[in-house]
Assembly symmetry: C2
Homo-oligomer: 709 residues x 2
């Protein structure tokens, strides 16, 4: 760390000169301006982006500048107006630089002057004043930080156009006040190791570069106490694992990487000696690549933690991540994403992407592969494993989560999994209970059911013990705990396996889950083998839910459907599940078959005569009718201390609707049983209806599978 | 009729010569064979189809012929095997004709010989024996009729290849027995005015043409009693309205037109003097065009009556309809559908389509327009009205149904409507309760809930009175009743309107619904105005459900959500609805806002202080968990005799997820009220929040709208 700090001190000296010399020099640079000028008319994606920016700014110039007194919450008029203002000011700066047409500089300058006039008069935002972290222009200080990041770029672009008097008005009225708000009023957020902190730091860092203010830069680098426990480098050190996994998961990385990417780019331009993109073994380049691997086949982010499932790599916040990462890595996989986004950054990075695409370098598909991402700053706090099989449109994948609790957006979901096939969710995670930007649903905020259901263990595909959530749903307890990775091995494409253990989620219970993706005898599709072992000295109720997508068409459980639906329990999320039907196993195996689109899925699982199954639907105790009617079956064993359950989940058959035929509607598997079970090893036998049999040997160090019949 | 009959008698003479002369001459003809030969290598769609047929047949030849003893129900092994056999035999015949390679003729002939050997030994199918209409090769006689239609085409193609002895074996063993089964054992079906009858008739007619058997032809034309109350012409006369509307609706027409199109083609080739495609003012060409207009924006058939919503124009049964219709009309709109189908008939008709597409004649979009389709053989039994606004991907449409009861696949849904926007359902019809071809769900048959829920009035978007279904859900009562069209006017694209009245569905109650699509002041999207007037001498409970798609985000009703869900009623479908929440109006207007994808929708409707609203979910009393959890709100007024309710349904705003902004999340409409209401006229005032106001004047002969403020 000492060495790094020295580098920064040296950098600051370089900066002092640089900032007083050249503008723009944050994300857009003089070279970037030249590259855009040169690329226009040549690279279609650049043209599209540039013309769209021009249309937007021209319309805004025609409409006149309006800087209303802040009043509305997210989604409301003043909120959307200020959002549009900072976006269009930033774009106008770019247009001024590229086209040299004065009207763009005038527009950006005048807007800056209006904000400079308004800003000093603002107290805390009326809609945010009772929240944890109100802003001034916006209801949340987070939005104010984003505002600053955009406005300072606009100012950087028109800096040379403004006269000294205007600069003083703008800097004193707007930027120094905004930095003060970010660093002093919002000191807690500024110093927070958190994506909100990253935005605050980004704005202050960039403002420091433009204003040539080394105090701002020092604060942004090392935290407001200059103790390096916070600030940009601390954020990079603490929020990312060595593999580029971000502590809050892919959905939040999508948003969090935005300030990281932009700030790193500004640092690269202003403090080139730091070599920020090489820092920590290039973790700031690993992160966007990891993030894109953590998407489902349609480019939506895996819905870990508080995630809105609609969010995909086409979201605007991912554009800079893709362009910055490509600019440094030239990984053509990124060009596929840029094409889906249909737009690029207006900067040297964006031009590079647009040029590569124009040269035909983009692949026809984004390639996803099996990947393990270690969690924790040192990579030793569990992780996320993704096994994938097949290519492109017919890739199947499973995701197991065994890392840390994802800060305040974490869920109590250790050892949970999700499955995708046919470009769709097959075993689902509910995600967040929130209607983003829908004002009528509590202003688009997280709904109470996010906490009471979305975060709870029973909302996930993992073991729930005694009808309670992991850590008793206590975020503080969960905060510093993590599962432990045992192994992840994807070398053999016909037998990929991952295994993890958790001893923290439930006091006195050790949980060990091993998931394999097994392509037996060169079958077209692999099957999932799922072995979940719980060890305890006490008897417990063990519930294992599977949230399936599709239509359940058969189960071996003799169930009875309830005429009236009542909640399955009272708390830990059970109050939100209706008991639709239930039954008890009368055999050693139970099966559940459903279909979705063109394929059937059967889960065959071990049972004992007292194994119960509940068929549940989400939606109970929902006073504002906010929950989606998702469906699950829950396998329950009670009055046992140790419990090992093994399942095989098989995709099978074909449902061809246009040509109206069905084949393979029944599973090929006949039996699954646990034939060996000790503290450190489990042996599972799986057999098909045509009497082939395999033994899966699992221990703490490896797993192997052998055909025995 | 007399004239037509004479034409047929003449035709029969022509035929007698023809059939003994030329083969093939059913759908595939000598000219068609020449056209295919000529087109191969030139027209990609023909190549694709031909090569696919070749692949299928080559694989089947390699696998050997298997003609198993019939055993399984739909979806089971022998069922699928026999289906594949008749399909591949038919294709092998085509390949023999086109390529002249002996192996294809041998394959088709040998399969015919195997069926000829098996058929005489068959009793009724074991899985069908207890059903109303068992087959021999298949569990349902319907499948046997389809089998015959395919097998006779295969035989026609290899007729010349077979020697006299083989012909005798095949004709005596298979075809004469199959015709006997169709006309004698299944006499009832054969003479039925119904799509099943059409298949039986098709097989017998074609067999008659190939065998030169005038008895078969006479039976097929005029019914087994030769009284012309049944048979092909009677089917055409009675099942189609003069506009080509088919009595069972578009979903069943999709299937029903298959035998009509093939039989008509065979008649055209064998009895050219009949000019069958000109018959009844070309009703057999109007029907496929009407059917394709009755699709939603993704090409799925409007789910009237018992309909599987997944069924789209890409289904194999629609291929011949499209090709035959194009062949006669050269309507290029059909080429778009053929491209979606990606395949053509292997006949002169298919070549013509493939050629036109290769010549670039296919449009970029299928054009749907506002259309009224009169129902009933004479066109005077109500109908179906479809209003459409906007083009292509942003077309909005509403569909109102006010025709006859659709035979045994009808629903009690008079004056119900559906709405589409954004290429999706917005106001939905449940369709049929059936999992087609899913063996595990009762062999893919209609489920009991189809009758107890799917058909019931409360499953539709129309008025339910006293919690009973129309006609007390009695099919016999409903059978000959129909609503009456008042008017349908789509001339003014800014104000399109349709109106219909029903006095048959509920004894003592007259129901009058008028629906307008009104593009006010050149707004981007029109609004729907819906005026529903019930008149009675008695007091009733009036329920009006709206099955919406999307997420309800706001309602002006102060509701309370129920902790336990119990069924809303005991019968007529109410037993399948859970009462999720309910409340009572405290204002003159109530509103419901939901969103789906990129747009918001608000229904603003008139209320009185006792108006109640129920928020319901489908899924109660569902012992096999077969129902989808669809949602609706039901507006209830009780203890009134006359009840007029007016609503405005507005699509509004934009939800842009990638760029995370929302605008127009609130409706522009402030008020709707009924300001005039008499026996024959209703006046409705509608006003916006910016105080524009319109008066909608409705009477029994017309509707007009005028801006008054």
């Amino acid at each position: 760390m000492y060495k790094i700090f020295c580098v920064f001190v040296a950098g600051l000296l370089v900066l002092t000169t640089s900032a007083q010399g050249e503008h723009p020099n944050l994300v857009l640079t003089k070279d970037g301006v030249a590259a855009i000028r040169d690329g226009l008319g040549k690279y279609p994606l650049l043209d599209v982006t540039f013309n769209e920016a021009k249309r937007d700014v021209d319309a805004s110039i025609a409409g006149g500048i309006e800087v209303p007194v802040p009043k509305d919450a997210g989604g409301g008029y003043t909120h959307e107006k200020h959002k549009h203002n900072y976006s269009v000011a930033n774009k106008a700066g770019v247009l001024w630089q590229v086209l040299g047409e004065k009207k763009y500089a005038v527009f950006a300058r005048d807007m800056l002057l209006k904000y400079a006039a308004l800003y000093p008069s603002l107290g805390l935002h009326p809609e945010g004043v009772n929240s944890g972290s109100p802003g001034k222009v916006f209801w949340q200080s987070l939005n104010d930080a984003v505002f600053l990041v955009n406005m300072i770029q606009a100012y950087d672009a028109v800096y040379d156009f403004c006269n000294t008097k205007e600069r003083k008005i703008i800097e004193d009225g707007l930027f120094r006040n905004a930095v003060k708000f970010n660093t002093v009023d919002c000191k807690k957020v500024f110093d927070m190791i958190h994506n909100h902190g990253a935005w605050n730091v980004a704005g202050v860092m960039m403002t420091g570069f433009v204003l040539g203010d080394s105090t701002m830069i020092s604060h942004a680098l090392n935290g407001s106490n200059l103790d390096k426990n916070s600030g940009f480098l601390a954020l990079v050190n603490k929020l990312y694992s060595p593999d580029g996994y971000y502590i809050e998961g892919p959905y939040y990385l999508r948003y969090a990487y935005w300030p990281f990417g932009l700030t790193a780019t500004a640092i690269a331009n202003n403090l080139p000696l730091v070599n920020i993109f090489a820092y920590r073994d290039s973790v700031l380049l690993k992160a966007p690549l990891a993030m894109l691997q953590m998407t489902n086949p349609t480019g939506n982010f895996l819905p870990f933690n508080d995630a809105i499932k609609e969010k995909a790599w086409t979201s605007q916040e991912v554009i800079s991540a893709v362009d910055i990462a490509y600019s440094h890595t030239e990984d053509t996989n990124l060009l596929y994403v840029a094409m889906q986004q249909g737009t690029v950054m207006l900067s040297a990075e964006g031009v590079k992407v647009a040029k590569a695409i124009a040269e035909g370098k983009a692949p026809k598909q984004f390639k996803r592969h099996s990947i393990v991402l270690r969690d924790g700053a040192n990579g030793d706090e569990g992780g996320v494993g993704i096994l994938r099989s097949g290519q492109d449109d017919d890739q199947m994948s499973i995701v197991m989560k065994y890392g840390v609790y994802g800060m305040e957006h974490g869920h109590y979901d250790k050892l949970s999994f999700m499955m995708y096939d046919q470009n769709k969710e097959i075993i689902k995670d509910y995600g967040a209970v929130r209607y983003l930007n829908i004002v009528q649903k509590r202003g688009g905020r997280y709904l109470p059911e996010n906490k009471s259901f979305g975060k709870q263990t029973v909302a996930h595909n993992t073991m729930v013990i005694d009808e309670k959530s992991q850590y008793n749903a206590n975020a503080k307890t969960a905060g510093d705990k993590h599962s432990n990775a045992l192994y992840f091995n994807a070398d053999d494409s016909n037998f990929q396996v991952m295994s993890a253990i958790d001893t923290t989620a439930y006091s006195g219970v050790s949980l060990w889950r091993t998931m394999a993706m097994f392509r037996y005898d060169m079958a077209a599709k692999p099957v999932i083998i799922d072995v979940f072992k719980a060890v305890s000295n006490e008897q417990h109720i063990y519930d294992l839910p599977y949230y399936y997508a599709g239509t359940l068409i058969e189960t071996s459980i003799k169930y009875s459907a309830n005429r009236e639906w009542v909640p399955l329990g009272k708390k830990y999320g059970y109050q939100h599940l209706f008991n639709v039907a239930d039954g008890t196993a009368d055999t050693n195996n139970i099966s559940f078959t459903w279909y979705l689109d063109k394929r059937f899925y059967t889960l065959l699982t071990t049972a004992v005569p007292v194994t119960e199954a509940f068929f549940v639907q989400v939606g109970a105790t929902d006073p504002e009718m906010s929950l989606r009617p998702e469906k699950a079956f829950i396998i329950r064993n009670k009055n046992v201390s140790n419990y090992t359950v093994a399942s095989v989940l098989e995709p099978h058959g074909e449902y061809n609707e246009p040509f109206e035929y069905v084949n393979g509607a029944y599973s090929n598997f006949k039996n699954i049983s646990v034939v060996g079970d000790s503290e450190n090893a489990v042996v599972v036998s799986v057999s098909t209806k045509d009497d082939r049999e395999w033994l899966l040997n699992i221990d703490k160090g490896k797993a192997t599978i052998t055909r025995v019949k």
